[in-house]
Symmetry: C2
Subunit: 139 residues, 2 copies
DNA sequence: CTTTGTGCAAATTCTTTGCACCAAA
DNA sequence: TTTGGTGCAAAGAATTTGCACAAAG
């Protein structure tokens, strides 16, 4: 859990003015590791904040992604979700419950890829899909 | 390059009736390693085939993906593209030219992921993004 | 004949944009 | 007072669906 004042500084350092809406959205994605869609963030904050529109959520999340503060995940092909954790890690999506789980990966995992000479890698996403331990136990 | 008759057998084995359209679409994704979108496949085949609709291309590619004959890639967040190569490999997308390149990965690369005990992995996608060697040389 | 595939047009869904109003520096 | 943010409504883009006709077993 990061302090609100700390998050505010991060936005300012990134050249983003910390409006009430932006700070609330930023706090949400930084403190929830549920990989929410824009719509989920909207539903969660619309009542907390006096005023919020889905447009603002979309605009703001895009702003954060472009600034490198938030990661955009395309593990599901039907909707985009967001991850406030920008450190290197893998994602697992359960085919049964739909949950997206964070998984640690070794920092040098790119060594497993051949022929990367000459490529400049800026971003890496490792997506795994299958059945999570909880759903597996149920069946 | 695989023979048409061989591809036909693959469709039949998967329980898919090899119509003229389906076979042409299947042949296209199996012989082009350009990771086309449905629209690209449509544009490439509409003149070759007497008749083809974008709807059929969408339906057919979905059919192939569900049957496990073709892979769906979500490396780009604005459109889906398809890969006739279903063997394990990574994908690199160049931010500059948009090209998607296949890269070999070591078969045991999942050993780089921690805490997979209890998970049943059915699918893995490794997406890399950055600048490809060709675009890098140009700048 | 009878089941299945094709393709047009319309619908759907997610996301972005234009623009007027509002808020903060 | 001037720059930038918010949010409504409308537009846009990718994909899916309903349905009538065509084709293949």
């Amino acid at each position: 859990m990061i302090a609100r004042s700390e998050l505010k500084k991060e936005l300012i350092n990134a050249g983003i003015r910390p409006s009430v809406q932006r700070l609330a959205i930023y706090e949400y994605v930084k403190s929830h590791h549920t990989h929410p869609t824009a719509d989920v963030v909207y539903d969660a904050l619309r009542d907390v904040l006096g005023s919020l529109s889905l447009t603002t959520v979309y605009n703001t999340l895009k702003l954060f992604v472009d600034a490198g503060l938030v990661q955009l995940l395309t593990i599901d092909d039907t909707f985009r979700c967001f991850d406030g954790d920008t450190t290197s890690h893998a994602h697992f999506r359960c085919d049964s419950c739909g949950r997206i789980v964070d998984l640690k990966i070794k920092s040098d995992f790119l060594a497993m890829v051949d022929g990367l000479g000459g490529f400049e890698i800026k971003e890496a996403q490792l997506y795994l899909k299958g059945i999570c331990p909880i759903c597996k136990r149920k069946n």
